[in-house]
């Protein structure tokens, strides 16, 4: 499996960000998105590292084009265009001019008590924090890597404005003890379910005919605290332009035991979750932003 590539740490610069801010303020969202297509074309053409980081996913998602670098590059450009659009949406949310946010299948999220919300690096996931904080009526915690990545720094800077707590994944328990305590208090804990932090317990499950490494922690935390684990996906919809956060039916968890849950007992929950990820990728193939060590070799 290839090493993770922190793409957003090394892409973009102060001038570029400033330029797009100006464009958003003066020309609006549409113009900024249009211009981002030109910028992303250059990345698609010349950024070999970024292409390598996404190629494994694109090959699995578009197997008919896996042997054609030219067609893969086209998919790559569309992916970058969507990424730029999502970053612009997130930036707007950060400065308080975000798009309207709607919820779908909200009934899957319990009204009270602890809950693990399992997000993925799909769509405009950062924008969902704002909604969850406003609408859930409970304290929101997000597990996040303390920062080696510039993009995460910018995201975490929003936490005071948007009122969510950050539980660092550093330390002996990777933030799991703090997350478990938050669930006991009846709070919500948001975990990115599509990528394990380095060193965390993970499992590889089938994904588009390949394998995807995902963390076990969301399922363990939910099972051990007797709370639901609810997958959630954010997406951008048009006419009118808005962010939609869609909750899924809670994942089936292993029963409580008076002993440690074995990792293999958590695998079915992880596999069930990855089916949701696959479904999202089928519907929105260019809005899947889990780069780097995506899938590995096909399952035998």
């Amino acid at each position: 499996m290839s090493a993770a590539v922190p793409l957003n740490a090394s892409r973009g610069n102060r001038f570029g960000i400033g330029f797009f801010r100006l464009l958003l303020h003066c020309g609006g969202f549409g113009l900024a998105v249009w211009f981002s297509r030109i910028v992303t074309w250059f990345y698609a053409r010349f950024d070999r590292t970024a292409f390598a980081a996404t190629a494994e996913y694109l090959k699995l998602r578009f197997p008919e084009d896996a042997d054609s670098p030219r067609r893969l590059k086209k998919h790559f450009h569309r992916l970058l265009c969507e990424l730029a659009k999502m970053l612009l949406v997130s930036y707007r949310a950060g400065i308080g001019t975000g798009l309207p946010i709607e919820e779908e299948d909200r009934h899957f999220l319990p009204e009270t008590g602890g809950v693990v919300v399992v997000l993925a690096h799909c769509g405009c996931w950062q924008s969902s924090m704002d909604l969850m904080n406003r609408s859930s009526g409970r304290v929101i915690n997000i597990m996040a890597q303390a920062d080696r990545v510039a993009g995460m720094d910018k995201f975490l800077a929003l936490k005071d404005k948007h009122g969510f707590n950050v539980i660092s994944t550093e330390g002996f328990s990777g933030g799991l003890v703090e997350s478990s305590a938050a669930l006991e208090r009846g709070e919500a804990v948001i975990i990115m379910g599509d990528r394990p932090v380095p060193g965390a317990a993970a499992v590889e499950v089938p994904y588009f005919g390949g394998k995807l490494a995902v963390p076990l922690s969301p399922w363990l935390l939910a099972a051990r605290n007797g709370v639901p684990a609810v997958p959630a996906f954010t997406d951008l919809r048009e006419n009118p332009l808005r962010v939609v956060i869609r909750y899924c039916r809670p994942i089936t968890l292993p029963a409580a035991q008076e002993r440690r849950l074995r990792n293999e007992e958590l695998v079915p929950a992880a596999a069930e979750y990855v089916l949701h990820l696959e479904q999202f990728a089928r519907n929105q193939p260019y809005r899947v932003f889990r780069f780097g060590d995506m899938p590995s070799e096909p399952v035998k």
Binding site: G171, S173, L176, V177, L220, R259
Partner: protein, 89 residues
């Protein structure tokens, strides 16, 4: 070390082996001053959750009482002392 402490530590070691399903270890393999995680007993972050759940269910210690207190988990002895001082059942 008084007898109560010795007896409790023995009981806790047996509970840990049993709860964490440490198949290749016995209570005798857990040394008092040995780190619990990584280089010591070799436990991981999922085991950390299991330990706090065990503390809650077997000894009545709420999870909120141990969050942000990483010093409790430094060695088996620090963990045992904390549980002994705070247990409600």
């Amino acid at each position: 070390m008084n007898e109560d402490v010795t007896v409790f530590r023995r009981e806790l070691k047996e509970n840990l082996v049993d709860w964490l399903q440490l198949m290749d270890k016995t209570a005798d393999d857990i040394k008092d001053e040995e780190p619990i995680f990584k280089e010591g007993l070799g436990l991981d972050s999922l085991d950390a959750v299991e330990i706090v759940i065990m503390m809650q269910r077997k000894y009545g210690i709420p999870q909120t009482q141990v969050e942000n207190k990483r010093e409790i988990f430094a060695t088996f002895a620090t963990l045992a002392d904390f549980i002994m001082a705070n247990r409600t059942k």
